[in-house]
Amino acid sequence: MTAVQLSGAGRRRGWRFRGRAWREAVSFYGFIAPWLIGFVLLSVVPLVFGLGISLTNYDGLNLDSVRFLGLQNYARALHDAEALFGISRTAVFTALYVPLALTFALFLAGLLNQDVRGRGAFRTLFYLPYVIPIGAAAWVWRLVADGNYGLLNALLHLLRPGTAVQWLANYATQVLVVFVVWTSVGGAMVILLAGLQGIPKELREAALIDGATPLRTFFAITVPLLTPVLFFQLVMNLIGALQTMVAPMLLIPQPMGFNVLPPQDNRLYMTFVYFEIFTKARFGYGTALLWILFLLVLALTLVVFATSRFWVHYEVE
């Protein structure tokens, strides 16, 4: 261990280490280059512009009468009772939707991963609501759930004559949750199914041979290995739920005539913002509201990411 040897070894190891890290970094940037370039060229400018709009009183039409307001829009949002109400309704919706959607999708995926005859057909059947355009899907739901002429109440009428429950007007959020789960479970199922394929069969079979029940195998072996994909689905569901805008509007009981806004319980945050922008012409304010939502979603997602360390199992960190 002479000085020469030491320094020589150090130099060689150092050079190799720098080289390896360097090559990995180059490779990394190479792989993400298409995304990065596209992001800079196509996304950054509109984003900054969108941020700029939120600092003005832009009304959606005239750029000549635009005035700079600084952070006034943001301050205003904090006192806006309707905005706060929207957040509370969105929180309720999200809290109901996410667990339900995730569980149901996992259940379906697990079931349809079994060796059941005709599982391809079943998968397609459960996938169907996902591909029906949401406008048409909501339209059908409105008909089926209609208070006076809907199929649902007609069936209830057989049990108790004269029943005419106003599902869409009085149970608005419940119907919304079930509806959104119904339309989205197909997509989630596809992803979870794909994820399930990544779990080596041998592991499961080994457990079964050891005497574990299929259910136990599922929870002890399959689910832990599925966590990366489950995590993906959880985050996507969360983001999607917080941004829900269209479904409440499509489920307005009588959209073409009477109720321009959804029933009070369904005035989710983004729905509220939509009306601020398009009915009240408050484009600047609406954009600020959207950025606030962005911050909330970001915060929540970071929290979820932070917890992922404890329950998501990656092969490579």
Partner: protein, 451 residues
């Protein structure tokens, strides 16, 4: 970026704005002294691309081909109307040349200087003549202060006196109520009574609502009712919504509130499955309030031979029956190709498309000379024409919409608070106050924007 960027954008837009013809304060048809303006020349000079933002079901591909064949120098670029896209195009400095709009939107657009004064074009047009224009076009006239007088900023494509009624004779028979005569108007109070008699229920289920109307437009109906007594929903300068301090307005609002509370009309707590027109054709409504255009679809398999059109009701004894939509088109102030756009405008509103529209029975033509083209063959059509002729004389007064807010602000607030009031979460008075507050906030912003 931020301010500087937006400022630069604003300047850029102003720079490429076309010189808009200044609106002459008095708009007599002979005042063609628009010498400084873009001279609307005869057809041969017009060419280029016209960006036309409209709806496909009102501008078919066949019509597009026909037009381009007759005007080879002009190319029509059609874009399906979409509010966001319209905004975006305006923001990008590239608004369409012609676009579809409705009468109630005109004051708002005028205040924002989006519309081009078309009077110079009208003055020399041989197809669209001033004295031939139906009263619905008053919605597009502005003298700088009031709607209804002055220069034309657009034109209506077809219209109806919108406050007429259609009755389902079978509903009346089932309820043992005689069908009203079609030669004199009912009062709104009589309609309320009819509504409760015609409503049919079975347990909790409503099988028929006595009265139906377009829930998105009752603020306009209220305006029409108030106009009978010379009052308005707004203060004189449109600076605020004035209901709670105006006894007549409170009475009108109360009328509609009570109908909803009594459940004889569809309301947020007992909605009908589709819009009122669709409900009527399925036999779910006793009486519906829609304009002449509804006659084209009122007779369905279910209601055939059972529909009768009735004149518009009155609130205070004064007969008024203008249109409340006046759907039409206008040219944007920043249009890149006004001359060519005018050729299309003229053809759409006076040429073959207008003739076809008149014959279809889906509306009263915008040109009086085309009135005779409306269908009058079947007994029902004839009956509708008879009632219509009686209404036309009362159709001239345009409703005055607020220039500081968009057309939907009041009705959105109304429906929002109506739901809460019906659920018992607020009283009727509180509901009115809430509607006022929300509307007035929007008005204040609109005023400050125009600064």
């Amino acid at each position: 970026m931020g301010v500087g960027g937006l400022g630069a954008l604003g300047v850029g837009l102003a720079a490429c704005a076309q010189p808009t013809p200044t609106a002459a304060p008095q708009a007599e048809p002979t005042k063609a002294s628009a010498a400084t303006q873009v001279p609307p020349t005869a057809k041969p000079a017009a060419g280029g691309t016209v960006v036309f933002m409209h709806q496909r079901n009102e501008w078919s591909e066949d019509q597009e081909k026909q037009f381009m064949a007759a005007n080879p120098a002009i190319k029509v670029e059609f874009i399906q109307f979409d509010a966001t896209r319209f905004m975006a195009m305006n923001a990008a400095g590239n608004p369409p040349d012609l676009f579809r709009l409705q009468g109630p939107e005109v004051p708002d657009y005028l205040a924002r200087k989006i519309l081009k004064n078309l009077q110079p074009f009208f003055d020399i047009s041989t197809v669209l003549k001033a004295d031939d224009l139906a009263p619905s076009n008053n919605y597009y006239k502005w003298d700088g202060k009031t709607i209804g007088k002055g220069d034309l900023y657009g034109m209506c494509k077809d219209w109806s006196p919108d406050f007429t009624l259609f009755a389902n004779k079978k509903a009346f028979a089932e309820a043992n109520v005689p069908v009203p005569a079609d030669d004199k108007p009912l009062t709104y109070q009589e309609i309320a009574q009819l509504a409760s008699k015609l409503t049919k229920k079975e347990g909790d289920r409503t099988l028929r609502w006595g009265f139906g109307y377009h829930g998105d437009w009752i603020d306009r109906t209220m305006m029409n009712m108030l106009a009978e007594t010379g009052k308005s929903l707004f203060a004189d300068d449109f600076s605020r919504l004035a209901i709670s301090d105006n006894p007549e307005a409170v009475k009108v609002a109360r009328y509609w509130f009570d109908l909803a509370k009594a459940n004889v009309v569809a309301n947020p707590l007992n909605p009908s499955p589709q819009w009122a027109g669709d409900d009527f054709t399925k036999g779910l409504l006793g009486v519906v309030q829609y304009g002449y255009w509804f006659s084209a679809m009122a007779e369905s398999d279910v209601t055939k031979d059972n529909v009768v059109m009735l004149p518009a009701p009155t609130w205070a004894g004064v007969r008024r029956d203008p249109t409340m939509t006046a759907t039409g088109m206008a040219m944007t102030a920043k249009a890149k190709n006004p001359e060519a756009a005018w050729v299309l405008f003229e053809w759409y509103n006076g040429g073959q498309p207008a003739i076809d529209r008149a014959k279809s029975g889906w509306g009263v033509p915008a040109l009086k000379s085309q009135y005779k083209l409306m269908p009058a063959e079947t007994p029902f059509q004839k009956q509708c024409q008879k009632v219509l002729q009686g209404e036309l004389q009362y159709a001239s007064d345009a409703l005055q919409f607020n220039p500081f807010i968009k057309a939907d602000v009041v009705i959105t607030a109304w429906n929002k608070y109506l739901e809460q009031a019906l659920r018992g979460k607020m009283t009727f008075e509180e509901m009115l106050k809430s509607v006022e507050k929300e509307t007035n906030d929007a008005i204040k912003e609109g005023i400050s924007r125009l600064g």
